[in-house]
């Protein structure tokens, strides 16, 4: 075994994805770690430095409090086996389909309420439920064009859903750039494995966006709407626009007139048909939502309602990733799809229900309490790590607004070896697979973003809280052979290229002569 792992401090309470509890290597991970072990310490250090340098040079950054910070990428990849991935893929698909049906129902008939699966109050009290989205009929029936489902592995190693993101999930750009950077840093290790490619994502997304164009538009203009360069995910917006070959626009580039949306160009206004927006609902349209928003454009909702432009993801999706709704998702899967959930969630207490609240109010110091509409790890209180004052403050806030909070037991996330100060140590990780829905099916990007909490024992992995990332290697199922064999080259390699012409004057014999001549004349002069 590699010297890197001498004294690897396994955490007894978590599932380690590389080592068994007795310290032996799991077979799936062995190849990568042995290959890493071949590198001597100096070499490995050079590779780590190369990785860091690459991200600074390429400007792969996120905005942290107004400063561009390179996104920390760890040198050790995270391995997901084909069989494990099959579960993730099926589970994510199932979840996205159920949430699609749920959203369609919520903004339509509301059968889920009349059939008693979920109280109507849960939805109408959600901050992200928008009446303005009621009665919308998306062109190809898709509301969740892109979804990111946050998964963790519990101490038994089973995947569990931690939360759904169906508003504007971010992070996919790092999946793409992590792979490029890591395979450049560790080519010999990457070449040992058959990895599922992540390069397909922009194509899939572009196809899904084209597919949701307003009816009757055969060659739609697709734009990516960004809040601007100061947004923490600006790098991602630019990367996706570039890779999809479409314009990256800001709110001020757009104009709404007579229910149509156009973009200002040097040749005047040009119509826009699909907006992949990375701006939150509240800021999209000052005429409908927050009137002080400068990030959107007035009249956008009107144009969308008239079916002249498609907004992706749809407005009002936030109701589906509300954490209180999350507790009902297993029921929703059974109700809409007639299936059992493939990936379980984490046990959750709904603090607005008196029985649940009473059960946990005295045990807040041993639970994780989360705001229902938070993202980026904001507002989460981890009981065992919180002070008595924090718990007391939390208790008061829950009592003031029980609808705003849920409680979960502390789940020890799985750990993966991570390079910290030239040593490999276990750090907690999660996984965010990305799914794209083009109306004919849900496609899950084989990989997803692995975020890693860099401080020891830390359970919050968000980059805004000092988290980094890892490249996620989904191993290809080698039992499946590609269907198409590449036909053998019909031309013999030698015959493929014309002979190249050279400048004959610079061939050695002649220049030798010149040299001789020179020495001869120099010799002559000194005589």
């Amino acid at each position: 075994m590699s010297p890197w792992f001498d004294g690897y401090p396994l955490r007894p309470d978590s599932f380690d994805e590389v080592f068994f509890a007795d310290g032996t290597l799991r077979p799936a991970a062995a190849g990568v770690l042995e290959a890493l072990g071949q590198l001597d310490p100096g070499e490995l250090h050079t590779r780590v430095e190369f990785l860091r340098r690459t991200y600074v040079d390429q400007g792969v950054t996120f905005d942290l409090g107004g400063r561009e910070t390179p996104f920390p990428l760890d040198i050790v990849p995270r391995i997901v086996q084909a069989a494990e991935w099959a579960v993730v893929e099926a589970g994510v698909k199932q979840r996205v389909l159920a949430l699609e049906k749920f959203l369609d129902d919520v903004y339509g008939e509301g059968r889920v309420f009349t059939d008693g699966v979920m109280p109507r109050k849960v939805v109408t009290t959600s901050h992200h439920f928008h009446r303005a989205a009621h009665g919308f009929n998306p062109p190809n029936g898709v509301r969740v064009h892109v979804a990111g489902v946050d998964l963790i592995r519990d101490p038994q190693g089973d995947f569990r859903v931690l939360e759904d993101n169906v508003r504007v999930p971010s992070g996919v750009s790092y999946v793409i750039s992590n792979r490029r950077a890591l395979s450049a840093a560790l080519p010999e290790v990457a070449a040992l494995h058959q990895l599922r490619s992540v390069q397909e994502y922009p194509l899939r997304l572009r196809a899904a966006l084209t597919a949701c164009a307003p009816r009757g538009v055969s060659d739609p203009t697709v734009v990516v709407l960004t809040p601007g360069v100061f947004n923490s995910a600006y790098f991602e917006h630019a990367l996706l626009a570039r890779m999809m070959g479409c314009e990256l626009v800001e709110g001020r580039d757009l104009v709404c007139q007579n229910g149509y949306v156009s973009v200002r160009t040097t040749q005047g206004l040009r119509p826009v048909h699909v907006i992949y927006r990375r701006v939150d609902d509240e800021f999209l349209d000052p005429a409908t939502f927050r009137s002080d928003s400068l990030l959107g454009v007035a009249g956008l909702m009107n144009a969308a309602r008239r079916g002249n432009v498609t907004i992706a993801n749809a407005v009002g999706n936030g109701v589906a990733d509300d954490k209180l709704v999350y507790t009902y998702v297993p029921d929703l899967i059974r109700y809409y799809l007639g299936e059992e959930p493939i990936i379980a969630g984490v046990d959750t207490w709904r603090l607005e229900e008196d029985a649940h609240r009473e059960e946990v109010m005295d045990r807040l110091d041993e639970l994780v309490v989360k705001p229902v509409d938070g993202s980026g790890g904001k507002g989460i209180v981890i009981g065992p790590a919180a002070s008595a004052e924090e718990i007391a403050a939390l208790r008061a806030r829950i009592e003031a607004d029980p609808r705003g909070w849920i409680a979960q037991p502390v789940v020890q996330l799985s750990t993966v070896p991570t390079m910290i100060n030239d040593r490999l140590v276990p750090r907690h990780v999660d996984l965010r697979p990305f799914a794209v829905n083009d109306g004919s099916g849900v496609w899950v990007l084989p990989g997803g973003l692995t975020r890693v909490a860099l401080p020891e024992g830390e359970l919050i992995v968000n980059s805004s809280q000092g988290g980094g990332s890892k490249d996620t290697w989904v191993l290809a199922d080698t039992s499946e052979r590609p269907h198409e064999e590449i036909p053998e080259a019909s031309v013999h390699p030698v015959a493929m290229a014309m002979q190249r012409r050279e400048d004959v004057r610079i061939q050695p014999p002649r220049s030798q002569q010149e040299q001789q001549q020179q020495t001869a004349s120099e010799g002559g002069a000194t005589c």
Binding site: V56, D57, G59, A241, R242, L248, R264, T266, P286, S291
Partner: protein
């Protein structure tokens, strides 16, 4: 093309050219102090600051200080660092349009200049680094971008800045023309010395050098050449009938400025050189305003004020 993106590309062109020309100018200035005993150090320093549009420092200044201000000052307008920063920021705002290689090259150059990396270099090596990188960035743009509308805006910015910087350089030279090497410096600071010698021979004569830098149609940094390239770019951006006149104000301004140089005798052109150079700078300002009015105004958006009251 989005107005906002067009404006970004235009400014990348301007800023990268500005950084390159400023580094060339500084290189010559540093050598001048060392090599030419007839130079009036104080005068050449003060005028250098003046032509770059910077406040000249009071009292005597060391060449290190000059370097620190013009090369590395993070905020002083026209410093090399600020120019590269401006170019980089423009590229960041147009990142989906700018070729990735070009972005990366601009980003690493800026990173290198703003960190200690460049301060560890010898001053001349640091300036040569900037010059080389700027040429590299322009080269990447020319060889990897489609020469479509976006590239024309980049080209427009680059050529306009070149005219402006040449006017500033010549102003500096004419203010220091008592120094023996003044015109040689002008040629060196625009990378023209070699080309000039191949054309006019070894002796540098004031009016030959001025003619070369202002009027030569074949030398790519001469004023006339840059004006023509800017005109071409603008003409590409302005399709339509060529039956009479030019509809675009920018094109008219450029054409007029070029005609005034090309259709006068050299002695007329050189009669009041500083005044002519100031006029050229004014032309650059006016063309910039005309382009902004014609193409970039769209990037100013109306603000929604409904629902506030």
């Amino acid at each position: 093309m989005l107005s906002r993106i067009a404006e970004s590309l235009y400014w990348i062109g301007r800023y990268v050219e500005r950084a390159e020309d400023t580094s060339r100018l500084l290189e010559v200035y540093l050598q001048l102090l060392v090599e030419d005993p007839s130079v009036d150090t104080r005068l050449s320093t003060v005028t250098l600051f003046a032509v770059l549009g910077m406040e000249p420092p009071a009292g005597p200044v060391s060449s290190q200080e000059v370097l620190r201000t013009i090369q590395n000052h993070p905020t002083a307008a026209c410093s090399i660092l600020a120019s590269l920063g401006g170019g980089r920021e423009s590229a960041r705002r147009a990142r989906e349009t700018v070729p990735p290689e070009m972005w990366e090259s601009l980003n690493t150059t800026w990173n290198s200049v703003r960190t200690d990396e460049s301060r560890r270099r010898r001053p001349l090596a640091a300036l040569a680094f900037v010059r080389d990188r700027c040429v590299l960035i322009s080269g990447i743009a020319d060889t990897t971008m489609s020469h479509d509308e976006g590239w024309q805006f980049l080209q427009l910015g680059r050529q306009l800045e070149r005219v402006d910087m040449m006017a500033r350089l010549l102003l500096w030279v004419s203010a220091n023309r008592r120094s023996m090497s003044a015109w040689n410096n002008a040629l060196r600071a625009s990378g023209a010395l070699h080309a000039y010698r191949r054309t006019h021979g070894a002796a540098t004569l004031g009016h030959d050098a001025a003619e070369f830098l202002l009027l030569d149609r074949l030398f790519p940094r001469s004023v006339v050449h840059s004006l023509s390239r800017a005109e071409e770019a603008l003409a590409e951006l302005e399709p339509g009938s060529r039956r009479s006149g030019f509809p675009s104000e920018g094109l008219r301004l450029l054409g007029r400025a070029r005609a005034e140089l090309e259709y006068q005798s050299l002695s007329e052109v050189l009669t009041d050189l500083p005044d002519r150079l100031r006029q050229l700078q004014q032309v650059c300002v006016d063309v910039d305003a005309a382009i902004a009015h014609r193409y970039f105004v769209g990037s100013l958006a109306p603000v929604w004020s409904g629902g506030a009251a």
